[in-house]
Amino acid sequence: MTPQLLIAAALCLPLLVAVSVALFGKVPTLREGVTIAGAVALFAVVIQLTLLVAGGARPELYIGETVPGLAIAFKLEPLGALFALVASGLWIVNSFYSIGYMRGNRERNQTRFYIWFALALSGAMGVAMAGNLFTLFIFYEVLTLSTYPLVAHKGDAAAQRGARTYLLTLLGTSICFFLMAIMWTWVVAGQRLDFIEGGLLADAGLSPFVSSALLVLFVFGVGKAALMPFHFWLPSAMVAPTPVSALLHAVAVVKAGVFTVMKISVYIFGFDLLQATPARDVLLGVAGFTIIAASLIALRQDNLKARLAYSTIAQLAYVTLGALLAVEAGALGGSLQIAAHAAAKITLFMCAGAIYVATGLTTVSSMQGLGRKMPLVFTAFLIASFSIIGLPPFGGMWPKYELLQGAADASTAWIPAVLIVSALLNIAYLLPVAILGLMPLPGTPPAKEFKRPGGAPVLTVAAPLFTAALCVVLFMAAGPIGDFLRPAFAAGSVPGLEDLR
């Protein structure tokens, strides 16, 4: 297949899945089979594309212009390939998990769930492969709109309220800030929006005021990156079923947000302009604040999913931080964090979901000692927690290492301190869950009986175990991934970086 066809296939496969699910909605097995087949096929396509990219190619697909200067075009580069790989790979896992969860929980409207899930994946693929800001914005909105029904899936008043907050925050930031920034970019860049190595705006001769305003609009406009104070949509979206939370936190949505920030800093601004932009320092501060504040809030949450949600906010601010550092190591660290955090966070969520299906429990305090009954689930949770904290030999270590490196390169002394405090806080809010689950304090009452006979469905246990294993694999694979990504940052020329290995 030609690269064009591959890209088209990557975009259309999820749509195809959505249509077939709609057709086969009456037959659950067929419906889920189609989903999985589609996910596997998509993953295969993305791997092929990734191999092409690794070989130095940049597959392109040009659809056409709406008006001059506003083209719908796709172009895959290493960053996008990484994101596509993460999203499509985790879709397979998540699909298996969804089958167990949705059936085990006897959710209603399952067909609708699978349809919108597939559409959301299509949006994520579009974001990953977008060749310019316009295309990216389109698929960014597709992603927003297609996840809204998923968040509102339960349909009760709480779900609707949460979903409304979700939608309004994301659409509001994207329309008020992101779109504004895109329009402004379009004007100052001479009616172009392409992603260009070295930065589209690098030679536009922007005044510090304009570049600062643009940067602020972009960073807050990408509401999916969940930078404070536009983070509240993420906790309020916790009303969704767990596979959806996994989609939001690990597979597509927040990842799409931070990926967009990364892409803007590398391909729209470029490292040089970014470093010359006064607002960058303020935004770095906001990212640092988000990391600490979200971790502190997470500490106080008793609801497991809420705690994980705030953890996500903190962890993804790492990526924004890395992107804004505007040095190669920082960007690399941020990109690695996308992958590493995805694997770890999806594990955590799937564990939380498995616990919920089996026992109906949602609070951390009620889970003490539950690990005795569900050892596999809690082991997976423990491994993922280690990865989030950044302990070797788990995938979460490398991004932090690179970020520290980047902070040193960018000579900002306070960032390492933030990273260390954050790691300590991670330990404080994540480890007790797993450890108290496995080894309850003496005197705690025995864990509740399973609500569902037979405990968690097999699929909901196997999936987190698999992704926990992935965390380990990512530790090993960090080197090749770094090599794969590095060409993306090559144009942002900060010399004298160490090799990763």
């Binding site: 316009f134 909105e141 609707q160 979903a163 939608l167 309004l168 329309i175 504004m180 004007v187 305003a213």
Partner: protein, 511 residues
């Protein structure tokens, strides 16, 4: 050239007289309708008349596009222009004519399914007659090149509009006071316009627009000309529902019969806006000092106030039609904001938004008309759960709603983007901020309806699922698909708007 087949297939007489036939054919069909013995025959004639007008306007557009920058001048009675009345069609009029005749044709199409049950006996043919006259009047306003003739056709269309609005009284008596206040405001607007024309006539001695434009550079300091501009602005602003002269609009749109609100929202204010553009840019020139002051210090603030205030008002409406009506006022604000920039890019963006707004508001009102017909209600509460009961109608509604918000890949996005470009290009970033904020407000009010439609259970479980009638669904989906198509390939409307803007700004200077 996409329109070439239209031109080559048209007979000679049609090409020669297209400029006037676009008005005369519906105008002369109207009295025939009043005499028509059968309602169905009357409806068929209406569709035929509007379709013919659409064909003529396409011919006009094709002729204009053959030679860029050209204009068709048709001397009525063969009296050379300053003496007789002239129909003058350039790229700007041609675009507006295509828009209003196209929307009129679609509106006439849905008149039968939505009205046949309600108006029995002899009244439907008279109602259609009034509709056709309104249509002809609007086409006349768009085609004429004579300042006073414009007033006459404005009154033809307005009087017909008042009675069309009042015909909603069969369902809701509030249509009557709505029509009455529309009548008072509309008449005041027309009177102000006439005063303005009088002042200009006193200064120039002619009524032909091109003639007035020619004399304008020498008269920039003339106070009666300046006052004339002010009166014309207020008069046409009343007709165009410029904030704060819009009070007549929400009730009129909310209580008129469904197809009437659809037609009016897509055409009536648009034509008034067109004449405003014609006056502001072709006849007066934006580089005249007093006019640029008016644009920047009067028009732009009013436009922004409309965008924000009326969007907020739209959020608090319980009736979907009133909500859409307030949204229309806000959208007029968008267009006026674009115009007030005063550059070619601005006028072009304003025209594009005018075009796309007609498409999306037409579709929205059409869908609401269908729902009103099928379910007898138009509050948001009545809309709850319709996503299941009337999926096709509501899907089209959703597409048009997203276009109104300005979601990418819909026509609304393109026009808003152009608007933002025009503003930022001029350094009006504060206006661009208002633009995006108003767009966000539109997310809220459209979102409220869409949420009720797709995610809330119906108030009373409906016994049977009913779609809007098929005759309405077809034009509705045409509009919805056009909304998407122009979101993907906006070349055609963007080209029309750019040509129109060039024509608007160029006529006075070129002569």
């Amino acid at each position: 050239m996409i329109l070439e087949p239209v031109l080559t297939s048209a007979p000679d007489w049609a090409v020669r007289h297209a400029a006037v036939l676009v008005v005369v054919v519906p105008m002369l069909l109207a009295p025939l309708l009043a005499l028509s013995p059968s309602n169905r025959l009357a409806w068929i004639l209406t569709v035929a008349g509007t379709a013919a007008a659409f064909w003529f306007s396409l011919i006009l557009l094709a002729i204009i596009q053959e030679v860029p920058g050209s204009a068709i001048s048709y001397a009525l009675g063969n009296w050379e222009p300053p003496i007789g009345i002239e129909f003058r069609v350039d790229a700007l009029n041609a675009m507006i004519l295509v828009l209003i005749t196209g929307m009129g044709a679609l509106a006439s199409f849905i008149a039968w399914p939505t009205l046949a049950a309600e108006f029995k006996g002899e009244r439907l043919n008279l109602l259609l007659c009034a509709f056709l006259l309104c249509f002809a009047g609007l086409a006349g306003v768009a085609a004429t090149g004579d300042a006073f003739n414009l007033f006459v056709f404005l009154e033809v269309s307005s009087l017909a509009t008042y009675v069309l609005v009042a015909m909603g009284a069969g369902k809701d008596r509030r249509a009557l006071p709505a029509a009455f206040s529309y009548l008072v405001m509309g008449t005041l607007g027309a009177s102000f316009y006439v005063i303005g024309i009088g002042l200009l006539y006193a200064a120039t001695g002619t009524l032909n627009m091109a003639d007035i434009a020619e004399q304008m550079p020498g008269l920039s300091g003339n106070r009666s000309v300046q006052a004339g501009l002010a009166f014309i602005l207020v008069g046409l602003g009343l007709k165009a529902a410029m904030w704060p002269l819009h009070q007549w609009l929400p009730n009129a749109y909310a209580y008129a019969p469904g197809f009437v609100s659809m037609f009016l929202s897509a055409t009536a204010t648009k034509v008034a806006l067109y004449s405003l553009i014609r006056w502001l840019f072709t006849i007066f020139q934006p580089d005249l000092a007093f006019e640029s002051a008016v644009l920047q210090w009067v028009l732009a603030p009013l436009a922004m106030a409309a965008m924000v205030i009326c969007s907020v008002q739209a959020i608090f409406q319980t009736d979907v039609r009133r909500m859409l009506a307030y949204s229309s006022v806000a959208q007029v604000g968008y267009i006026l904001l674009a115009i007030s920039v005063g550059t070619a890019a601005g006028v072009s963006a304003g025209l594009l938004h005018l075009f796309t707004h007609a498409l999306m508001k037409g579709a929205l009102f059409m869908a609401v008309a269908g729902i009103c017909f099928a379910y007898q209600g138009s509050t948001i509460r009545d809309f709850a759960g319709l996503g299941r009961s009337a999926p096709f109608t509501m899907a089209a509604f959703a597409i048009a709603g997203l276009s109104l918000i300005g979601v990418p890949l819909t026509a609304g996005f393109i026009s808003k983007l152009q608007l933002g470009y025009a503003l930022l290009d001029q350094g009006w970033w504060w206006a661009a901020v208002v633009l995006v904020f108003a767009s966000f407000l539109s997310v809220i009010y459209i979102g409220r309806v869409l949420q009720a439609v797709f995610f809330e259970p119906p108030l009373n479980p409906r016994k049977n699922n009913k779609e809007a009638p098929l005759l309405l669904l077809i034009p509705l989906w045409i509009l919805a698909l056009v909304n998407i198509f122009y979101g993907i390939d906006a070349g055609f409307p963007a080209g029309l708007a750019a040509d129109g803007a060039a024509a608007a700004l160029g006529l006075g200077a070129a002569q």
